[in-house]
């Protein structure tokens, strides 16, 4: 995998390789992978053998980048290539020469993973870090506050969470505590930003709603919704503020919830002009303006509005119709979001 890391760095110099290493060990810990597997991953990432020694009972294990066990005693190693995993447990990388850029993070995560595998880590949420705890509603409030304080956040401050996939491209990187958080959409790169933050550029990336420290789990969920509403390359960064209360609702609605308006929006989307027309209606005040935005004659747009009304069963321009249209449109896009499935080709071509 060292070769892959190099290849990723060449294809996308902005890739956060350190975070990928963290995400890799997160998955290994969640999957209860044994010591040999942990050493094999570290060796494969580093491109040199990795090892482990336990004092009681005495046991040494060395594993090559191809995952095979290496016999014999380890070579003399510089202190920078060794890390204590716990009392009487030590791990190392058998690097010859200078350290490579990812050696330190690989060694740190290996040590932590070995520690947990050997039952020396904390129990309960032992394998999760502060940001993962802070953004999880199921963690007790006092534990979330403690995590916030450990991250250097003010208990009375107001913040937001930004979320991006590991393959996002960062043009300008904001400052703030960051980590990878495992989600059902895969590992997500999360950063805590102050309420008003300096502009930055990343794609795809979602910025969540502002909240107090104990509600940052909600900010994270809204950031995930915003992220999944991104449409790179034109719309690579979405801030939840744009949709406000709609995103608050979407963040807490189960994806497979029964929503007839959304099912009917699927029928609208079957027309080649369907979604662009709905977007134009939502972005404007009148049929005339919407027609201009969609680049069609206003009688054409009127006809389309009739077709949309018939498909939805309500008038999208009247009263709550506009709000229903907006919510159905966003839900439809969310259910079909490809942002987290595909990279942004064609870098490198």
């Amino acid at each position: 995998m060292q070769e892959l890391l190099g290849r990723i760095a060449r294809l996308d110099p902005s890739a956060s390789l350190g975070l990928r290493v963290i995400a890799c060990f997160d998955e290994l810990v969640v999957g209860n992978v044994n010591t040999r597997g942990l050493l094999a991953a570290a060796a494969s990432l580093a491109g040199c053998s990795a090892g482990f020694r336990q004092e009681h009972p005495r046991r040494v294990l060395r594993v090559s980048p191809r995952g095979s066990v290496v016999d014999g005693d380890p070579p003399e190693l510089d202190a920078e290539f060794m890390a204590p995993a716990s009392d009487g447990l030590v791990v190392w990388l058998e690097r010859e020469g200078e350290a490579l850029p990812n050696d330190a993070i690989t060694l740190e995560r290996l040590a932590l993973a070995v520690r947990i595998r050997h039952g020396r880590g904390r129990r309960d949420h032992d394998n999760r870090r502060h940001l993962g705890l802070l953004t999880d509603l199921d963690v007790a409030a006092e534990e979330r506050i403690a995590a916030a304080v450990a991250l250097g956040l003010s208990a009375t401050g107001r913040y937001r969470v930004a979320a991006a996939p590991l393959f996002a491209v960062w043009v300008r990187h904001p400052d703030g505590p960051e980590d990878v958080i495992p989600t059902r959409h895969g590992p997500i790169h999360a950063i805590v930003l102050p309420e008003s933050y300096d502009a930055f550029e990343a794609s795809p990336c979602g910025v969540g709603m502002v909240s107090s420290v104990d509600e940052l789990h909600h900010s994270f969920r809204t950031a995930m919704v915003a992220l999944r509403l991104c449409a790179p390359p034109d719309d690579g960064l979405v801030c939840a503020d744009v949709y406000g209360g709609l995103i608050d609702m979407l963040a807490d609605t189960p994806e497979d919830a029964h929503q007839p308006d959304v099912a009917r929006m699927d029928d609208v989307a079957k027309h080649p002009w369907g979604l662009t027309t709905v977007a134009a209606i939502l972005a404007t005040q009148s049929v005339r303006e919407a027609a201009r935005r969609a680049g069609v004659h206003h009688s054409t747009l009127s006809t389309r509005v009739d077709v949309i009304s018939a498909a939805l069963g309500f008038d999208p321009l009247d009263g709550f119709g506009r709000a229903r249209l907006g919510l159905a449109y966003l839900s439809h896009r969310l259910r079909r979001s490809k942002v987290l499935d595909l990279p942004a080709p064609p870098f490198g071509t």
Binding site: R7, R20, A23, V33, L166, G186, D341, P343
Partner: protein
């Protein structure tokens, strides 16, 4: 692509999942025709000469006649000091019939060269969609005939020639074995079909289970077969040499080694192919690896699953080819 909900499927092995966290986004699960150019860049193999030198493997590049006589590049890889009477392997590379080169995934078969003393011929067959069926398979068949007729020059024992391939190359290798049988062509002592791409119809249960997920999903497979077969994909005119699952008769074939992941679209067609060989009274060894996604041994050879796959395959190849 619609995100399919409520599809049940086997989970990926945790070590492989950890590997996917590293690669995230580099190899998209879904390859559509507009991604072919991107894949040709990101899938291109890295320079190989240092690795070969380190392992004491000699490389000679030659041009041989391909389909319709057009010159094809092949590389002959040979262990240091090998003279004559070595086992031979004709290798078809991976890459969905649309990308990759004759060194794609070669790491895994180089062990046969330096451990078993194999002389390996790996072929730059022409790629779809620029060269649709029958070019890829007939280029491979022409290379097989060339290899068989130059055994003496190559230092290969003519009674110990095996065809091997991974993914799209596995499908090509299976097609070679069928064509060699039917055309009275070179006698093969075995066929190694790694997670082979055998069926253009895309109707198996495993195909439906991996849509938009993993490596090489349902849509990617349609893209690959579409590039090869065009409008014929899924129709009734497809040659079994292109899509070996189409073959009615699987008797009289050389012994087959077939491996596949339980968590990939090719699972069911690989199982069916082995089963059809057995039902025809033939010799097949089938390994289905739990938690394995497509080509995970190339991508993550250091994992328990990857190592097991490689070891099982190498053991079989040694049984067939070893001195």
């Amino acid at each position: 692509m619609t995100r399919v909900t409520n599809v049940v499927r086997p989970e990926f092995d945790p070590e492989l999942k950890a590997g996917l966290a590293i690669v995230g986004g580099m190899f998209p699960p879904t390859i559509t025709p507009d991604l072919i150019d991107f894949m040709r860049v990101s899938y291109a193999s890295a320079p190989l000469d240092d690795l070969l030198a380190e392992r004491g493997i000699g490389r000679v590049d030659l041009e041989v006649p391909g389909h319709e006589g057009t010159a094809l590049a092949v590389s002959v890889l040979r262990p240091a000091g090998a003279t004559s009477g070595r086992p031979g392997v004709l290798y078809a590379h991976s890459g969905g019939l649309m990308f990759g080169d004759r060194f794609s995934g070669i790491d895994l078969v180089l062990d046969w060269v330096d451990r078993l003393g194999v002389v390996m011929v790996t072929v730059e067959y022409r790629l779809a969609p620029e060269f649709p069926d029958p070019y890829p398979r007939e280029d491979m068949y022409a290379a097989l005939e060339w290899t068989a007729s130059h055994c003496e020059d190559l230092g290969i024992r003519s009674d110990r020639l095996l065809v091997a391939g991974a993914s799209a190359g596995g499908g090509l290798a299976a097609g070679l074995a069928l064509a060699a049988r039917d055309r009275g062509g070179p006698r093969l002592c075995g066929q190694v079909l790694d997670y082979p791409m055998l069926d253009d119809r895309g109707t198996t249960a495993s195909t439906g289970q991996f849509d938009g997920i993993g490596v090489w999903d349902r849509v990617s497979n349609e893209t690959g077969w579409g590039a090869l077969l065009g409008a014929q994909r899924g129709g009734d005119q497809v040659s079994p040499y292109a899509a070996p699952s189409r073959a009615d008769d699987l008797s009289g074939l050389p012994p087959a080694f077939i491996d596949v992941g339980a968590a990939e679209i090719f699972r069911d067609e690989a199982i069916d192919y082995a089963d059809a060989i057995w039902r025809a009274g033939g010799n097949a060894e089938l390994h289905v690896w739990a938690g394995a996604f497509h080509a995970c041994d190339i991508f993550a050879p250091h994992t328990a699953v990857g190592r097991s796959m490689i070891q099982a395959r190498d053991t079989w190849v040694e049984k067939i080819l070893g001195d």
